[in-house]
Symmetry: C2
Subunit: 335 residues, 2 copies
């Protein structure tokens, strides 16, 4: 009888998560109940938002409790079904958690078509990160051809899609990322107009050079000092889509920084926070558009792949520190 | 021959403006050129935004230079006219500056009707501050009946109008002001549901008590620690209209504070800065509505009146420190 290996929360992280905050457990593979499917996971997603979910802070979703399986999107194959919606052998996507097998209610699953894009893409550019980029740029910020778009976390799963979608819409795109390798990737491979290495350059000075006409749209994945620098270059009537603040997620004490709100008045800045599932009703349309861009070669994606559930925690910790280029996934099986 | 007394900028203020930053000068009463009116000023307005205009910082309008007359709205009587639009004896409003007589081009003047409201109201509740309240609340933030609206600077010219308009729209209104006298005024005279004395209460705790259902709309006139406290109580889908940041205007060094942007994401906060003249095309409609509310007794206003151009600077300095209750005006003549 096969064993289900899963990762549970062992301790609430204080500051940067460490391996001992997580524990690998073994359990019997679950039996699907009526209306459920048993899914063998192929790829597991690790994402910045999970840092909030294991912190115990009250937020838009209930926190993961000590001893519970860590939450996370995954894609895999249906190996048993007591659902009328999914047949054995089909591929599905859902919030299956950090485990090798999951029994999941069919109303939380979505069929994925591996002929459109490889399985792992359905938790990346065609999953939550890609939809986040699409909605945040097009529905939250809004872009017009000819505008300058700046995106932080530019080499991440969300940021790399943001910049390419902005290019498709006729914008000048400037990405901010950590390290020369990431910067070269977003300009040379993804077609960004410019990239700023925040680890090697003064961001304020580099933005002045890269954005001679200022910044009309800022897609913020990181917060902190990088965002402080971007605010100095925002134009009148600029928009800020606040997607993530990864620089702050490991902060133990409340972080302080320059007060940004006074900028809003003369520049009439509009800043809007958002969550991807606010736009769920548009997912089919958005995914069709994204798939079309992928087929047309206009939208590329990168992946950093860890292997095995035993490496999920280290992949997550590394991703929080910027070790990944493109989407960080964990491959659990060839299913 | 009458003399025109005016106040010019003597020195750029560093921190809190002091009387020696201003200088009273005498000059001949100007002659109106073709298309101009000569206006004898009745009431001069002093407003927070002027602090920015004398700072020398580049912003949405050119700064006042050393030796130039300080800018400011005023209302008065036409005593000579070379304009087809205005006759001698009529009352007008415009940016006439800190002086007793102004020759002004007719395209910058607007006729005012003293039968609708006293002259001074046309630089207050029926002038820039009142329109700022109206647009900021109704067009920038947007309010729905039953929502909780919080306004800082609640006893000022803008804040006092914001709270009453929100009440008219069916909202619960909580004002934040400095001192028991101001708090009593906005609740007992203006009908706010609650008021918080930031000088005498812990704002965070007081907001928790006064806003048991959280805050849906925050109209920010002050920024700084008061705004930091309000952000802790904002609801999901809340809106922030950023009108002023008076707590920061005298800052010599860039002020730091807790980073607020992370709040935006789970709460989907929308913050928007604005300037009153962005909505100029709606002024006639807005003023008609405001005048109707005043006639109906639903919209009240208070004034703090200084007398004489020689007291304009002290009135301005006092207003920046919160000495006024309601609109701070300077009466220059009975014209």
């Amino acid at each position: 009888m096969p064993v289900n290996r899963r990762v549970v929360l062992a301790a609430r992280p204080v500051g940067v998560p460490v391996p001992s905050d997580f524990r690998l457990e073994e359990a019997p593979v679950p039996e699907p109940a009526d209306g459920e499917c048993l899914v063998q996971v192929s790829y597991l997603s690790v994402d910045p938002y999970m840092r909030g979910r294991i912190s115990g802070r009250k937020s838009y979703a209930a926190p993961v409790e000590i001893g519970q399986t860590i939450v996370g999107n995954a894609v895999g194959r249906v190996i048993a079904s007591r659902s009328d919606s999914f047949e054995v052998g089909g591929y599905v996507h859902g919030n299956l958690g950090w485990q090798e097998y999951a029994a999941a209610s069919d109303d939380g699953l979505r069929a994925v078509d591996p002929s459109v894009a490889p399985l792992s893409a359905w938790i990346g550019v065609l999953g939550m990160p890609g939809l986040t980029a699409y909605y945040g740029l097009l529905r939250v910020a809004g872009v017009n051809s000819g505008e300058t778009v700046c995106v932080s976390g530019a080499a991440g799963a969300v940021g790399s899609a943001v910049g390419q979608i902005a290019r498709i819409k006729g914008c000048r795109v400037v990405g901010i990322a950590g390290g020369e390798r990431k910067c070269a990737w977003v300009t040379d491979e993804l077609g960004f107009d410019a990239a700023i290495d925040y680890k090697g350059e003064n961001v304020t000075d580099a933005l002045r050079a890269a954005c001679p006409d200022g910044i009309d749209v800022y897609f913020d994945n990181v917060g902190g000092p990088i965002t402080d620098a971007v605010f100095q270059h925002l134009n009148v009537w600029s928009r800020v889509a606040i997607c993530g603040q990864i620089s702050q997620y490991n902060a133990v004490d409340a972080s302080v920084g320059p007060r940004l709100l006074w900028n809003f008045i003369p520049k009439r800045i509009r800043a809007q926070g958002f969550l991807v599932f606010d736009f769920r009703e548009h997912d089919a349309e958005a995914l069709a558009q994204m798939a079309s861009w992928i087929r047309g070669g206009q939208l590329k994606y990168g992946e950093t792949v860890a292997e095995g559930i035993e490496n999920a925690a280290s992949a997550f910790i590394g991703m929080l520190g910027g070790a990944n280029m493109g989407k960080q996934v964990v491959k659990l099986s060839d299913a």
